[in-house]
């Protein structure tokens, strides 16, 4: 089994357009959107027959107002500033700030704080024209994105094993923290999409360092390479120096937005970009095979 995670550090570098193109080109796979905070892959994949479940994760402090005597212990022990004393001097928990740590629940002298499970979003399984699709959405302002990512990966693996798929193709989140770290676990290869801009390069280095930290091999795609070709050359040289594989380049092209507006992946949209992305997919797939073998 191979598991490819597409990341970039920086948002807007082209992760989702690349993942969708790979989904159109790869055979016998499960596609998975791990950007649970702002998922976009479904816009191009057009999922059908969706079966969704609530994502319950952790708990939420809830003050039973009749039992609260306003002593303020909960407010004082909360490290997240989630508790205030509201109308009538009774405690109120701001669910957006509550971390679900249970400190206030455990330390309330009147045991006036309940701790119900928390609905943080949903996760789902769907059919698409490219095969099965596992996706989710965290409620806006929600917590526990790392747990939701782990849950999605578990679902994708179970589905792949049950139906005999050999590849899991994941679209990752921007950044380098909670959900991204969670998306790396058990992966075979991280495809890092970058652009030759100061922020693109800066962010690539941080996400590549994160992959090094978890000993995950990477393959780099330089997107929008022609907006600064000299920088793209330097970027590739820097990757080579560190032994990071460069899979290839893509040009800055209005076709990316045109394809998106037509709700098509790049290979379906056609044109020169479709051919270039097909070459990148061959390179990425070959690298993933080699990484899987090396294990």
């Amino acid at each position: 089994m191979r598991e490819i995670v597409v990341l970039s550090g920086k948002g807007g570098a082209g992760k989702t357009s690349v993942t969708a193109a790979f989904a159109a080109l790869a055979e016998n796979k499960v596609v998975c959107d791990l950007d649970v905070d702002a998922p976009d892959l479904h816009i191009l994949l057009d999922p059908k027959n969706t079966v969704a479940e609530e994502f319950l994760s952790g708990n939420l402090a809830l003050v039973e107002r009749t039992d609260c005597d306003g002593c303020g212990t909960c407010r004082d022990v909360c490290r997240f500033g989630a508790v205030t004393l509201g109308a009538g001097g009774k405690a109120v928990v701001d669910p957006r700030r509550c971390e679900g740590c249970k400190a206030c629940v455990a330390l309330c002298p009147r045991q006036a704080i309940a701790f119900p499970p928390r609905v943080c979003g949903y996760f789902a399984r769907s059919e698409t024209r490219f095969g099965p699709f596992v996706h989710a959405r965290l409620d806006p302002g929600g917590e526990n994105s790392g747990r939701l990512v782990a849950l999605l990966k578990r679902n994708a693996r179970e589905l792949a094993e049950k139906e005999g798929h050999e590849l899991i193709l994941c679209d990752g989140a921007p950044g380098i923290a909670c959900p991204v770290i969670s998306s790396l676990s058990g992966a075979t290869l991280a495809v890092l999409v970058t652009e030759p801009t100061p922020s693109g390069i800066h962010d690539l280095l941080r996400v590549a360092e994160l992959c090094d930290h978890f000993r995950l091999p990477v393959g780099v795609i330089v997107n929008k390479a022609d907006v600064n070709p000299e920088q793209a050359d330097r970027l590739e040289a820097a990757c080579a120096e560190k032994g990071r594989v460069v899979l290839g380049r893509l040009p800055y092209s209005p076709d990316v937005t045109r394809a998106m507006k037509a709700r098509l992946t790049l290979p379906e949209y056609g044109g020169p970009l479709g051919e270039e992305i097909a070459r990148l997919w061959e390179a990425a797939n070959a690298l993933a095979h080699a990484c899987a073998k090396a294990r």
Partner: protein
């Protein structure tokens, strides 16, 4: 249009946010910082709260004067005093404390720093320790003040550092005489979950950067859903506006429905992409863009002032 006098109401704090990454938050934040003084006649402090991938410094190029560690308080167990009762393991909601064989253990990376284990330990065998979550840097780019957070690579809990940077900014403001307090621009992380919500917490108003593409409009709608309940004024900057199409109309319709003012539209211009790729600021691309940025700064400042008067 004259910028209202600010001093009466104190410095304003404007968060620049977006659902989708790459929509142009840093472009807009850096552009606003560059023209703020000339447009609004107020000093400005640019703050990078996108601590996972901080980029603002790449465009403002501040000279960093000070850098400090930001820590999260996590427990340390005194194995001699510990009675192995398991109270800490039972109460911890994050699986960060356990007893392995006869050894009490804290998994530092899993700890959220809530302190409940210290509070419930009947033997008093736990004391506060710390984990580095990242660094906070102070500096200046000419007259523009700069504060930035930088998450340690491998650290999962970016909201901890985001809150620490925001608290540091508030402390900096409180230390200055009232008349010298600058307006604050908060360059926020992408998305709409806990990091983004933490980043906009101290803001008076939120400027949402939206891209008129299907991905951009979809994530913009999520951002509106996430930020509207905060009760702060929201306004929109459309970035990469250009090709008229379905998504432009969808964005306009969404703004109309939610009564969100569009303060500026930055065209989809390859010259901007190329300037960005060279680390140049939007107002320096052309006089036309400089005028656009000034107008945006004036309108954004007015948004906060009007809200305060209302």
């Amino acid at each position: 249009m004259h910028a209202p006098r600010a001093h009466a109401a104190g410095p304003l704090r404007l968060a620049v946010a977006s659902g989708k990454g790459g929509a142009g938050k840093t472009t807009v934040s850096a552009a606003l910082a560059a023209v703020w003084a000339e447009a609004v006649s107020r000093p400005v402090l640019a703050v990078d709260l996108d601590v996972e991938e901080p980029n603002l410094h790449l465009f403002l190029r501040p000279v960093i004067a000070a850098s400090r560690r930001a820590d999260l308080e996590i427990p340390v167990i005194d194995a001699d005093a510990c009675t192995r009762c398991g109270a800490c393991r039972e109460i911890c909601q994050f699986g960060a404390v356990t007893i392995l064989g006869d050894t009490p253990l804290v998994f530092d990376d899993m700890c959220h720093g809530c302190g409940v284990c210290l509070a419930v330990c009947p033997a008093g065998a736990m004391r506060p320790g710390s984990r580095e979550v990242g660094r906070i840097e102070d500096g200046a780019a000419g007259a523009i003040g700069f504060v930035g957070g930088r998450l340690r690579v491998g650290e999962a809990m970016s909201p901890v550092l985001i809150r620490a940077v925001a608290a540091h900014v508030e402390a900096l403001l409180a230390d200055l005489p009232e008349a010298d307090r600058p307006d604050v621009l908060l360059d926020s992380p992408p998305g709409v979950s806990c990091p983004a919500v933490n980043a906009v917490a101290t803001a008076d108003a939120i400027l949402l950067v939206a891209e008129p593409t299907p991905f951009g409009v979809h994530d913009f709608a999520l951002a509106v859903e996430a930020f509207s309940p905060l009760g702060k004024p929201l306004a929109v900057v459309v970035n990469k506006a250009g090709e008229p199409g379905e998504a432009d109309e969808a964005l306009d319709a969404l703004c109309r429905r939610e009564a969100l003012p569009i303060l500026a539209a930055i065209p989809d211009d390859r010259a901007i992409a190329e300037a960005y790729a060279r680390g140049r600021l939007l107002p320096d691309v052309s006089s036309q863009y400089r005028a656009l940025c000034r107008e945006l700064a004036r309108k954004a400042a007015a948004l906060v002032r009007e809200d305060r008067h209302a």
